[in-house]
Amino acid sequence: MLLSVRAVEKSFETSEGPQPVLRGISFDLDGGRTLALTGESGSGKSTLLHLVAGLDVPDAGMIEVEGWDIAQMSDATRAALRRNAVGLIFQQFNLIPSLSVIDNLTFHARLADRDPGDVRGLADRLGLADHLHRFPEQLSGGQQQRVAIGRTLVARPRLVLADEPTGNLDEATGDAMMGLMRDMVAETGAGLLMVTHSERLAGMLDARLHLRAGQVA
């Protein structure tokens, strides 16, 4: 099993005491499969995605990536997991502002000591061929989103975690990006867990997990 989530709970401290965000979430994801994570705003989708990525640790429960329990890992091991096994696509792109487009595209792969491969070919498919030496701030939101998707495609991780990856794209471009991600999953046997509000996009994936008030609905 690529990803196994069992009875995960997470709450955040507020001035009114602990605020539960996730309550006993459990699910599995195999390699080569895609899973849509849906739910209303505040239902805990992004928090779950961040826990799976090893950006934070659950208060209770277990998250295993390729059999390794994230909660038991040290900070350095979790960083190594993100570097080597996980690819993150954020809704707000979160590109590295000091690096050019081409360096952003290859950054994750090089960090993981992987050959970036045919980056220019991919950039062409992403519609970024003319922008390779620009910096993120010089791009539109849609272009930045494509760079963020491209960064993960170049890194070829075993687990792709995407948070509204096509939210800033028009429908046609969004569909094209989805196609690229599904192609990668099919080619590399990676798993894709994608947060989306779009019923249409959720319908393109193999399965769906709907959250409501921190629980699987």
């Binding site: 928090t47 950006l55 640790v57 960083a79 993100r82 570097r83 502002p97 000091s98 690096l99 993981a112």
Partner: protein
């Protein structure tokens, strides 16, 4: 009888009152009391105030043997102390400039941090003029508090440094400086005026930008906007222009003010070219880096340059000032000690009270020393200005050691034959006279200049004649001072013998070492103020760097969080932060070295010549530069430590907030 608070007084003086306004080391007494104490009826000189009526009997007629000496601008004490003050003012202004950079950076960062709030307030209907006015009031309030603290601290520093400065001016130039400070209204006014000007210069740009900020200003960080090539190009061109101007002023300009303008253009020019140069170097480093982390580190450092540039400029100016002034003082010290070794070649210096004692001493010394070298001088008008003529015995001591800057062939033989005179550097530079020219020595006649010697610390023109010629010109001159040459090992016992035999107090017989130590003591005191200002400037710059890095540390979290999310640990990111600060400090220090050397050159070759009349060789001290560069890097490392530690200890939940648009 009056003396300053800390003046050392000999025993037996009647009723000395403390006069805080007097310079230390000066005793003021009625002329009759002074004659009693000094055991003489002679009056050395009368100061004649300007504005005497026409038609009065000339003084040389009233007082036979007297001579009127007109004041001369070049050697005037007021001019020398003015130049000393100008030096201090220049360093004060440098510290002010460094402060301006810091305040500018701080205001810029503070406004940058609150930019989203300003946009929101504007979007909610707050007029730009009102927002600008509110922030201006906030800045004025801060300025008033900071200005008050600054004036009080300035007073404290001045009070601590004043005795040393007064003693130096008195010791070097005989100039009296009030020994006590008062915190006058003028101080307050000028202090607040400086703070106000500083605020206008440092905060004006930010306020102006705020007033013109469109309601829906793009979310592009200002740091990025400022890093754009156009801005850097403008800075590079402006800086290069100022450096060119500085070079032109150094080569073709004359006068003290031009010297300081040259310094100002040099420092401002280098400060302006620092960000574009740093960007170029860091860009090159980013392109040349092999690994992803190394590439990010270089690129990230480049991106931080605009936000850190003012603090780095302040660090550059402080380092350059330290290197420049350190090189100048080091060159001065090395030249001065070498010169002292040459000029004070005799092992013992002996001062007789009168000619009878001098004769007794010479008889006593016969056979006990290798040579007795009589020294005497007479005041004289040299090229129309007050100066002095020295007598010199023809001896190997002088031939081997005298520090000549320029000389005709066989100068010493010709001097011994009475065929000319030696003149000091001050007289030579002031009058533009060098070896082979003729010099007017008034009663000493017009003589060929056989050589020009360096004579540091002496504001007056000076000439040297052979002893026989001197006695012909000044038959009444008394030879009461002697340099004694002997085996250095025998100097101590001889001093003891002479002291016993003639009942000499310590100030009438001195070993070479004591004279040198006293001269060096005065020298070190001269630069104590400069050293204090140097440390202050460097400390302020380091503080600015710390403040900028700390503020940036908070603002940079959204830039660092994605790198962390992609698999770099917080510890590694914190290390990168420190390495980045070290990298920037190292490049700044590297640029500061040539700037500091250029600064030292201008100080030694332009300002010093104009202010004091002598030129010193530039003696580089690379070891001290390395030490200073390391100190700058240590300061930068320490400045980066707190923000790096915060990043290292930052909770993952706080970093995740960057990505969280919902929970």
């Amino acid at each position: 009888m009056f003396a300053a608070t800390d003046t050392d007084l000999p025993d037996g003086l009647p009723d000395v009152r403390v006069a805080p306004d007097l310079a230390p080391g000066l005793l003021l007494a009625d002329i009759a009391a002074a004659q009693d104490i000094l055991g003489t009826q002679r009056i050395s000189r009368l100061l004649i105030l300007p504005g005497a009526r026409d038609g009065l009997t000339p003084l040389p007629t009233l007082i036979p043997g007297s001579r009127i000496v007109e004041p001369q601008g070049g050697a005037d004490v007021a001019r020398l102390t003015d130049s000393f003050h100008l030096n201090l003012t220049a360093f004060g202004l440098l510290a002010f400039a460094v402060g301006l950079f810091i305040v500018h950076a701080a205001i810029g960062l503070a406004f940058e941090q609150r930019r989203p709030l300003f946009r929101t307030l504007r979007a909610l209907g707050l007029p730009a003029s009102r927002l600008t006015m509110l922030l201006a009031v906030e800045l004025v309030a801060f300025t008033l508090v900071a200005g008050t603290l600054g004036i009080l601290l300035g007073y404290l520093v001045a009070a601590l440094l004043l005795p040393g400065v007064a003693a130096t001016l008195s010791g070097l130039y005989g100039a009296g400086v009030a020994g006590q400070l008062s915190l006058s209204p003028v101080w307050w006014l000028s202090g607040f005026a400086m703070a106000g000007i500083g605020l206008a210069v440092a905060g004006g740009q930010s306020l102006w930008q705020l007033a013109r900020l469109p309601v829906l200003a793009p979310a592009m960080p200002r740091a990025w906007a400022r890093a754009r090539a156009a801005t850097l190009r403008r800075q590079a061109f402006g800086g290069a222009g100022l450096l060119g101007l500085s070079a032109l002023l150094a080569l073709f300009g004359t006068g003290l003010v031009v010297g300081f303008l040259c310094l100002g253009a040099l420092l401002l020019g280098v400060a302006l070219v620092l960000p574009p140069l740093l960007s170029l170097v860091l860009d090159f480093g980013s392109r040349a880096a092999k690994g992803a982390v190394a590439q990010w580190l270089w690129a990230d450092a480049r991106q931080q340059v605009p936000a850190l540039s003012l603090a780095l400029m302040a660090l550059l100016l402080a380092l350059a000032a330290n290197i420049g002034v350190g090189t100048m003082v080091g060159s001065f010290r090395a030249t001065f000690t070498g010169w002292l070794d040459q000029r004070l070649a005799a092992e013992v210096y002996l001062y007789a009270s009168d000619e009878a004692q001098a004769a007794e001493m010479r008889a006593f010394l016969d056979g006990r020393v290798d040579a007795v070298l009589p020294v005497t001088l007479a005041p004289a008008t040299l090229e129309g200005a007050p100066g002095e003529i020295f007598s010199q015995t023809d001896h190997a001591t002088f031939r081997d050691n005298w520090p000549m800057l320029d000389a005709v062939p066989d100068a010493w033989d010709r001097l011994a034959a009475g065929k000319g005179a030696l003149v000091n550097e001050q007289l030579a530079r002031r009058e533009g006279l060098w070896a082979g020219d003729t010099v007017d020595l008034s009663q000493g006649g017009t003589r060929t200049i056989l050589g020009v010697y360096s004579d540091y610390g002496n504001p007056k023109g000076q000439a040297i004649l052979n002893e026989d010629t001197f006695v012909e010109v000044f038959p009444e001159a008394q030879f009461l001072t002697f340099g004694l040459r002997l085996d250095p090992a025998l100097a101590g016992p001889l001093v003891a013998d002479l002291s016993d035999r003639f009942d000499l107090p310590p100030d009438r017989i001195e070993e070479q070492g004591a004279v040198k130590a006293a001269a060096l003591g005065i020298f070190e005191q001269t630069f104590a103020v400069t050293a204090a200002l140097n440390v202050l400037t460097l400390g302020v710059a380091a503080f600015a760097l710390w403040a900028s890095l700390t503020t940036l540390g908070t603002m940079r979290v959204p830039q660092v969080a994605p790198v962390w999310a992609l698999g770099l640990t917080r510890a590694r990111l914190a290390q990168a932060d420190i390495v980045r600060a070290l990298l920037l400090a190292a490049f700044t220090a590297i640029l500061a070295v040539p700037t500091g050397v250029a600064l030292a050159w201008v100080l030694l070759a332009v300002v010093n010549v104009q202010a004091f009349g002598w030129r010193l060789p530039l003696l580089p001290d690379p070891q001290s530069w390395v030490v200073l560069a390391l100190a700058a890097m240590v300061a930068a490392g320490l400045a980066a430590l707190l923000p790096a530690w915060r990043l290292w200890r930052m909770a993952p939940a706080d970093l995740v907030k960057v990505f969280a648009h919902e929970r």
